[in-house]
């Protein structure tokens, strides 16, 4: 069954406040600046990098300048400008090759050329890093750290909601991709999640805050495969219509994006919303509602299956 990925609202690279995002934005502006300089004052640029200030060089620099401007605009406008960054890398290769060739001629200022080569090499490294970071990940997963908030109202008092969540044995009942959550020390837990095709992730987390009937906060242990921190709050819903459960999560998932994607089966924000609905059902009706299709992972027609099912089947 097709599940639409909800793209989180994002503007150009200028909106992404992660390290990668800031670096990408910097490269975009750098491109614009350099491009303008090459187009408007090619003579000065030629002198700066140690090549002769003649017509041929100036024309070449103007062409490179236009290329830089194009790349700069592309990077600043697009939300995930991986393609433009790879274009920058290609441009850098051309630049390095040009500069290296120029080193061969005695007419040129070798010291300045060397400086130019080193600078371009540095910029190339930054371009390659950003291009790679932005080329990974899943739709809906920001390349760098990202924050999610999802909420639901449960028709139960905060104490009951807190108590159910706090007993980590209950978590696999509504986070159905979890195989187990075990305490390994006083405030430390070990989590195992799996999905179809043998996909499996394990990580350790520690509870950083436990405010009874109000809030639980946790964070993955240093070096975990799934780096994240999260919290769940239990607040009075307006009109005394139960408890407003609010989950916030910060995560950085590039390294485990593929495995996590297979396990969660949907983008992480949708999965948290789905888990909260399951949590609400556990508290309000005592089980998670299933259909003949939903008990299976992946597509299955809306009809019974031959396999004997345990009531309240969980995959």
């Amino acid at each position: 069954m097709a599940i639409k990925h909800m793209q989180h609202r994002s503007g150009g690279a200028s909106r992404d406040r992660s390290t990668t995002g800031r670096l990408t934005k910097g490269l975009g502006w750098f491109s614009i600046g350099l491009g303008l300089a090459e187009v408007v004052a090619p003579g000065a640029v030629a002198a700066l990098i140690g090549v002769p200030n003649d017509t041929k060089q100036r024309t070449l620099l103007r062409i490179y300048g236009l290329r830089e401007l194009g790349a700069g605009v592309g990077i600043l406008i697009q939300p995930r400008p991986a393609g433009w960054l790879w274009a920058r890398v290609a441009g850098d290769a051309v630049d390095l090759w040009s500069l290296a060739s120029a080193m061969g001629s005695r007419r040129n200022g070798r010291a300045r050329l060397s400086m130019a080569i080193v600078s371009v090499a540095g910029v190339t490294a930054a371009d390659v890093y950003c291009a790679q970071e932005l080329s990974g990940g899943l739709p809906g997963m920001q390349p760098g750290p990202a924050r999610l908030v999802r909420t639901i109202i449960v028709d139960r008092p905060a104490e009951e909601a807190y108590r159910f969540w706090h007993d980590f044995q209950n978590l696999p009942k509504f986070m159905t991709y979890l195989d187990s959550v075990r305490y390994t020390a006083d405030r430390r837990t070990h989590w195992v999640a799996n999905g179809p095709g043998g996909a499996r992730i394990e990580w350790d987390a520690e509870i950083v805050l436990d405010d009874p009937n109000r809030m639980i906060a946790w964070r993955s242990v240093e070096g975990s495969t799934f780096e994240h921190s999260g919290s769940v709050r239990f607040e009075r819903a307006p009109g005394d219509r139960g408890t407003l459960v609010r989950v916030e999560m910060d995560y950085s998932a590039t390294r485990t994006a593929a495995a996590l994607g297979k396990i969660l089966q949907m983008d992480i924000g949708q999965r948290i919303a789905h888990d909260l609905r399951n949590f609400k059902q556990m508290l309000e009706i005592g089980e998670v509602t299933q259909s003949d299709a939903s008990i299976h992972t992946g597509m299955h027609p809306a009809r019974p299956d031959a396999v004997e099912q345990e009531p309240v089947y969980q995959h």
Binding site: K4, M266, Q281, E284, I285, E287, H300, A302, P311
Partner: protein, 390 residues
């Protein structure tokens, strides 16, 4: 068991599939004795509803005998004869407690998909796409009924299936359509669509105190049924101008209340219809709101437009100016069937209405494909098809 499955656009097939099982503790399994084809099944049949998979069992109007119950079922017992409501509702969440069962927050395992398409999730429904839960439908020999205590009503021995089957959907839907009009004595009610839901809306409007009920359709045989079975005054929109005729009948004011019992696959003629069809073909408009537009334009100032025809997506050229400037009210919704089953069973019991009046064809479940084709083409004066599993 044998079950009628959606295969593709305009194609259904009766196949042998495994019997249903208890999946949740609140479930019951029903052995089906009668089931029907609904006008909204035709939206699935024609490929208008997204998220339908090949192999899905269709059908949401069914009744029969309870053969198995889950651990937490308390009111319903093995051997009970019951009719099932088409929306699946837990009965305890905030909307269910407000009697808005079709808005249940706990009965749709695919709530995320419904949310993406509609803005918020709604209740699961039997046999009506994966967006509404991926539940197997009831055009089959057996069905699994979640929340059996909430979604079924027990039927006395002496009442035949044909009299009570439509408590599952179309009778409460038509009734809710009339009820949403807040009918006052002396009211003139105009109903677009003389299909089974329209007929129940017309009959219910009289039961709720309307003085005059007008039926609007293009098919002679359906208008005849509206006259004979529901006591309505007919208007054939292919023979006369609906808006002018309604004005004549009401001294220029228009009907007090208007009911749209047509929905997204409205037929029409003229420029606006051609426009809607073209936009649909170009996928720029998902629904054709011809009946709805007319109902709004026709309605008297300060009146109510009650919409029970099914819509799926977006419409174009909506007469918002007419609505706003003339103080109209629109009321709409998928029917909260659980709310109506008991009071309407009572009305059937004391002879106020015989719902079997809409049935024109009865056939074995095996003939479901022919039933669908005939119902869609409106052949042989087809109004309502009942299927009998053998």
């Amino acid at each position: 068991m044998r079950a009628n499955c959606w295969i593709g656009k305009n194609q259904v097939n009766v196949e042998t599939v495994p019997d249903p099982q208890i999946l949740n503790h609140h479930d019951a399994i029903i052995r089906i004795t009668s089931t029907a084809i609904c006008g909204s099944d035709l939206h699935l049949y024609g490929g208008f509803v997204p998220t339908v998979e090949s192999g899905d069992i269709l059908g949401h109007e069914f009744m029969g005998e309870v053969v198995e119950t889950g651990r937490d079922v308390q009111k319903v017992k093995k051997g009970d004869r019951v009719v099932t409501a088409f929306p699946i509702a837990c009965g305890v969440c905030f909307p269910c407690r407000s009697k808005m069962f079709a808005c249940c927050e706990n009965s749709n395992p695919n709530a995320g998909i419904a949310e993406a398409m509609l803005g918020h999730p709604i209740a699961g429904v039997f046999g009506y796409s994966h967006m509404l839960g991926g539940f197997a439908g009831g055009q089959a020999e057996y069905a699994r009924v979640p929340f059996a205590d909430v979604g079924t009503i027990k039927i006395p021995e002496e009442m035949p299936d044909e009299k009570v089957l439509f408590l599952s959907d179309i009778f409460p839907t038509g009734y809710m359509g009339a009820e949403m009009c807040d009918i006052e004595p002396g009211d003139t009610i105009a109903v677009w669509g003389a299909g089974p839901v329209g007929l129940f809306a017309m009959k219910s409007a009289y039961l709720l105190g309307a003085e005059r009920v007008i039926a609007i359709d293009r098919l002679r045989y359906r208008l005849d049924m509206a006259v004979q079975r529901a006591g309505a005054i007919p208007i054939n929109y292919e023979e006369t101008s609906v808006l002018e005729t309604l004005k004549e009948m009401t001294g220029g004011r228009g009907p007090d209340k208007c009911i749209d019992a047509v929905g997204m696959e409205a037929d029409g003629h003229g420029l606006l219809y051609a426009y809607d069809r073209a936009k649909q073909a170009l996928m720029m408009e998902t629904d054709r709101p011809i009946a709805l537009r007319e109902a709004i334009m026709a309605c008297r100032n300060g009146g109510t437009v009650s919409v029970i025809g099914v819509y799926a997506g977006f419409i174009d050229k909506f007469p918002m100016g007419s609505l706003m400037n003339r103080s109209l009210t629109i009321k709409t919704g998928q029917c909260h069937v659980q709310r109506y089953m008991k009071p309407l069973l009572d009305r059937i019991s004391n002879g106020e209405i015989d719902p079997s009046m809409v049935i024109t064809h009865t056939m074995p479940l095996e003939d479901a494909p022919q039933g669908y084709a005939m119902f869609k083409a409106k052949e042989d004066n087809c109004e309502k098809v009942v299927l009998k599993p053998l």
